[in-house]
């Protein structure tokens, strides 16, 4: 009631809330996590933070694939009122770091030798101009197939070893009256499928050239056309209700046995686990089929804005330390479905899918076959990945030819350069 009174008074006087300035031990974090499992995982970090003497002040802005949060962040920076800590994915953090508004965590990195504890491929997203600006909590693998084991058994399908095999198995699934692939017409969900094909069919090196270096010859190559043609074969393997479907609803189709499989990152795992299904027993998780093993990643980091307040700086350090705490990483990822960002966290308590992800990551690092996900902003800057999404999304729902798709992709990328 006193709070309400104060707000009323402040409203009447046209003053900013007194509470705003008083948050001396409060650390405000802006993020996009709103689902139960996400929030549950986040609580691992905030609980740890509490033991370190700081209170997490939550600012969640969900929706629009993170655009709402990005908009909130931009307006707050414009207003000179940035959050103490911000969740970044992929290039988002780099952009702000280039503007010089993020606080350097170099001292902490040096003191705790965090650099050595992390996969080298992550560092490019954590560091700008020799300054570490954020700390990673997890790693999701993007290129997974999720399948209902009972359905696969009934249709007599083994785990496919190539995309052609995977697509061919669709006929068997159709024969037993099951939707072969659970998906949505949302562009990003289609793109998850596309980028898996892109790397699986053409190999990691080609993926790097086309999706990361944006090499024009690679982009306009026959390999690209081939990939689009492959994607075109998936048209019609979904059900009529795929329009506007959330990815989690698609996952549920697989879990319920209404659909055979889904191609999605390992955040989908939580849906099966929530139903009490067990990996390998009730559902299958396997990487998208390929001759050249690869690993595509997505991870969440938190960075702090430069704010002229010593207490907040201490709090930002505390957040970084909490995130990099191995125990926190373990507990967090057990809930979130991903694997720890740190390479040195014991994986014993994790499920088989996570264990597979962890071991595949180690192998991929060795083989130089680990790359960032295009869809989720770890391959190229948003203005380019957006073009991929536009073209792939449009290609899939219309009768656009693979050649036209490649042409508009090249034009679009050049236009955005």
């Amino acid at each position: 009631m006193t709070n309400l009174k104060r707000m009323l008074l402040a409203a009447a006087l046209g003053l900013p809330f007194a509470g705003q300035a008083m948050a001396q031990t409060k650390i405000e974090g802006l993020h996009v996590w709103t689902s139960a499992s996400e929030v549950g995982a986040l609580k691992v970090i905030t609980d740890k933070l509490k033991t370190m003497g700081f209170e997490w002040q939550d600012s969640a802005v969900g929706g629009a694939n993170g655009a709402n949060a990005q908009q909130a962040l931009r307006t707050r920076v414009a207003a000179g009122n940035p959050p103490a800590v911000m969740q970044f994915l992929g290039f988002e953090g780099l952009g702000w770091a280039k503007e010089g508004v993020l606080r350097s965590l170099n001292d902490l990195y040096a003191k705790n030798s965090w650099k050595a504890a992390l996969p080298p491929v992550m560092l490019q997203f954590l560091e700008q101009d020799d300054s570490f600006f954020s700390t990673p909590i997890n790693m999701h693998r993007q290129n997974w197939v999720w399948a209902n084991k009972a359905v696969f058994d009934k249709a007599g399908i083994a785990i496919p070893t190539s995309w052609d095999e995977l697509i061919a198995s669709a006929e068997k699934l159709k024969a037993i009256g099951v939707t072969p692939i659970a998906m949505s017409d949302e562009s990003w969900q289609i793109e998850e499928l596309f980028e898996s094909m892109l790397i699986d069919v053409n190999g990691p090196d080609f993926y790097k050239k086309a999706a990361i270096d944006l090499d024009e010859t690679a982009l306009s190559s026959p390999e690209m056309i081939k990939t689009f043609e492959l994607l075109g074969k998936v048209r019609g393997l979904h059900d009529a209700g795929f329009t506007g479907r959330d990815w989690a609803a698609a996952t549920n189709l697989v879990a319920n046995g209404q659909a055979g499989m889904q191609i999605m990152g390992d955040w989908a795992k939580g849906e099966f686990l929530a139903k009490g299904m067990k990996p390998g027993v009730d559902f299958l998780c396997f990487p998208t089929p390929t001759a050249t093993p690869n690993y595509k990643f997505v991870f969440d980091t938190f960075g702090g804005f430069k704010i002229d307040n010593g207490d907040i700086a201490k709090g930002q350090d505390a957040v970084a330390e909490a995130i990099m705490d191995p125990e926190v990483q373990k507990k967090f990822n057990l809930i979130k479905g991903s694997i720890p960002a740190r390479l040195d966290v014991p994986m014993d308590d994790f499920d088989d899918c996570a264990k597979r992800s962890f071991s595949d990551r180690v192998a991929a690092i060795k083989d130089n076959a680990i790359y960032g996900s295009l869809t989720d902003g770890f391959a190229v800057e948003p203005r380019f990945s957006g073009v991929f999404q536009d073209v792939v999304g449009k290609f899939f729902v219309t009768d656009m030819s693979a050649e036209d798709a490649v042409k508009s992709l090249v034009d679009g990328i050049n236009n955005a350069r």
Binding site: V32, N65, A79
Partner: protein, 306 residues
């Protein structure tokens, strides 16, 4: 009052046979009118039906594919969850605090924008001066501003004013962008009030403010209702400004609702979403259903010469 056209037609027909056929036509006509109205009403109620039934269904039932049908079991758990337990980020206090935020921001913003609109409309119609029409034109153009275009400069301005991220800041933004419409409402209404009223009051010795308070405002009650309803709906339902200019615990209900509904990665609780959506819509629904009568009446008063 509406004419009962059909009954007039019967009573003014002299011949009995004609009267009978007219009566039959009349009955058919009435049936067609009622039929189309009820059909449209059903169409209009459809989304509400979906929302209400979903909000009382069990989540498994929804995931099993029942989106539109009747619920097998009715449970109000989702409503309780939405009101007091649903999580907006790590804060799992339900919609309640944000509901209060929205009230705290909507009420002053509605009062201020309506008040300013009223006095602007009064000046523009009753105290014209050279250029007052141009000013009205300038104000009116603000109605059609795409708000996405002004978010960043507005954020910077609020930062300079020290109102960034606060409810008073949001109240200010809504008031500023509400002025265009409220001014238009009051201007169009006051135009229909004869200028002689103001002249009479001037001769009676009333000044600028006295005329406004004693004569114009009491006469403007219908349009005040219209303006308040319009502004209330617009501000309560706003998402863009709310998400841009508030943060965390200061967020209005639409932002909290969006966070509950728009899960980026994670299982959607459709029943809670729908219950939350209904809760977020209750005040505006209440305003329309309760004040709807006055709303139409207010519009009428604006259209008819006083």
């Amino acid at each position: 009052m509406a004419t009962n056209a059909a009954s007039l037609a019967t009573s003014s027909t002299p011949l009995a046979t004609n009267a009978r056929s007219f009566r039959r036509q009349h009955r058919i006509g009435r049936a067609v009118i009622y039929g189309s109205l009820f059909f449209m009403a059903a169409f209009y109620l459809m989304p509400l039906w979906v929302m209400i039934t979903t909000s009382v269904k069990h989540l498994d039932e929804i995931y099993a594919g029942s989106f539109i049908g009747l619920p097998q079991q009715i449970s109000f758990d989702a409503w309780r969850t939405a009101w007091s337990e649903a999580c907006n980020g790590t804060a799992c206090k339900g919609l309640k605090p944000y509901f209060i935020n929205s009230l705290l921001l909507t009420i002053p913003a509605v009062i201020m924008s309506t008040g300013i609109g009223a006095i602007n409309g009064y000046v523009i119609t009753k105290w014209r001066f050279p250029g007052s029409n141009v000013i009205f034109g300038l104000l009116l153009f603000g109605c059609f501003l795409p708000f996405q275009a002004v978010i960043l400069p507005m954020a910077q301005t609020l930062g300079i004013l020290g109102l960034a991220g606060s409810l008073p800041g949001l109240v200010l933004v809504h008031t500023v962008y509400g002025i265009a419409f409220t001014t238009l409402f009051f201007r169009n209404y006051f135009v229909s009030i004869p200028d002689e009223l103001v002249r009479a009051a001037k001769i009676d010795g009333a000044g600028f403010i006295r005329i406004f308070v004693s004569i114009m405002l009491p006469a403007a009650l219908p349009i005040i209702v219209v303006s308040c309803i319009w502004q209330f709906t617009q501000i309560w339902n706003d998402y863009l400004f709310g998400a841009s200019f508030t943060a965390g615990e200061n967020a209005p209900i639409t932002v909290a609702l969006n966070n509950i509904v728009n899960v980026s990665m994670g299982r959607k609780e459709y029943n809670v979403d729908m219950a939350a959506a209904m809760i977020a819509a209750l005040p505006t629904l209440f305003v329309y259903v309760v004040a709807g009568r006055y709303f139409v009446r207010g519009l009428t008063a604006g259209a008819v010469k006083g």
